[in-house]
């Protein structure tokens, strides 16, 4: 019998504290993971990139082996959440597992949306195990000159 280095719970606590640390070091950028959100039932956190393009932000999440129907994207109160579940590699209990490096179970990542972002404009697609979310930047109000009313007398 192989003894794991740490019980599963300790690994979870470790990841949670790393997420908290990241949040506290970087403060609150436009996009930030909510460290507190990861104390939920999530078993793993997919690796993500957040890229700022000229007109949009893009989130790329590596979620290989996840059925598209098991991925959920939600916007609520200025927060965008990518969540879902990766099913176990073996359906059969009699299977012998020689190596298990891939994470499975529920996953979750949460981001703060830039101020003024319209949830209706957010687009997502899934290809080769990568979820790409496109968030158009809110268009700045057109610059204009404001006339000054002058009262005399």
């Amino acid at each position: 019998m192989l003894t794991p280095l740490l019980p599963a719970n300790d690994w979870r606590n470790f990841e949670t504290s790393v997420n908290d640390l990241v949040s506290s070091v970087f403060g609150k950028p436009i996009f930030s993971d909510r460290g507190t959100a990861s104390t939920s039932a999530a078993a793993w956190w997919p690796r993500i990139d957040v890229v700022e393009q000229e007109n949009a932000y893009e989130i790329h999440a590596d979620i290989p082996g996840v059925e598209p129907s098991n991925v959920k994207l939600a916007v609520d109160g200025g927060k965008l959440t990518i969540s879902g579940e990766r099913n176990s590699h073996s359906e059969n209990n009699s299977d012998r597992v020689h190596r298990s490096e891939r994470s499975y179970g529920k996953f979750l990542r949460t981001f703060s949306l830039p101020e003024g972002a319209n949830p209706e404009d957010i687009k997502a697609d899934f290809k080769h195990g990568v979820l790409t979310v496109n968030i158009p930047k809110p268009t700045a109000a057109a610059a204009r000159e404001i006339a000054i009313n002058v009262s005399e007398g």
Binding site: M1, L2, P4, P29, I30, F31, R47, I48, D49, V50, V51, E52, Q53, E54, Y57, E58, H60, D62, I63, P64, G65, V66, E67, P68, H89, S90, N92, S94, D95, R96, V97, H98, R99, S100, E101, R102, S103, F126, K127, H128, G129, V130
Partner: protein, 136 residues
Amino acid sequence: MNANCTPTQVRRYATRPHNQPAPATRTYGPATDIVENDNNVTLILDLPGIAPADISIKMVEGVLTVKARRERSKDGENKPRFVRHERIFGDFERTFRLPRTVDATGIKARFKHGSLHITAPKTDQAKARTIEIAGE
């Protein structure tokens, strides 16, 4: 981890742990699961964001090698600014020494949603079977 599985058996399958670079070059080993059932040994490798055409699988003298390259897409003239940068790009390579109990000619691979599934059938001699006791 299965209780029947000894560390020696595990080491027999994989020659390099995942996420450790190969010597001299910056190469990553994709995370891998290895599962054995009555008929097959199945390897599942996570290779997200890679087109199947960019993955090569070779079997030479009982050693299975999977190689892949993942390139960052360069879209647009403007250099994108990374707000967060966690994903791994570059060369991926991993080798596995398969047991003699699998039939090298029957190995099949399929790629689905960023995971590569390689199935190696066991030889008939290696399959578990029940032996009936002849009556008197």
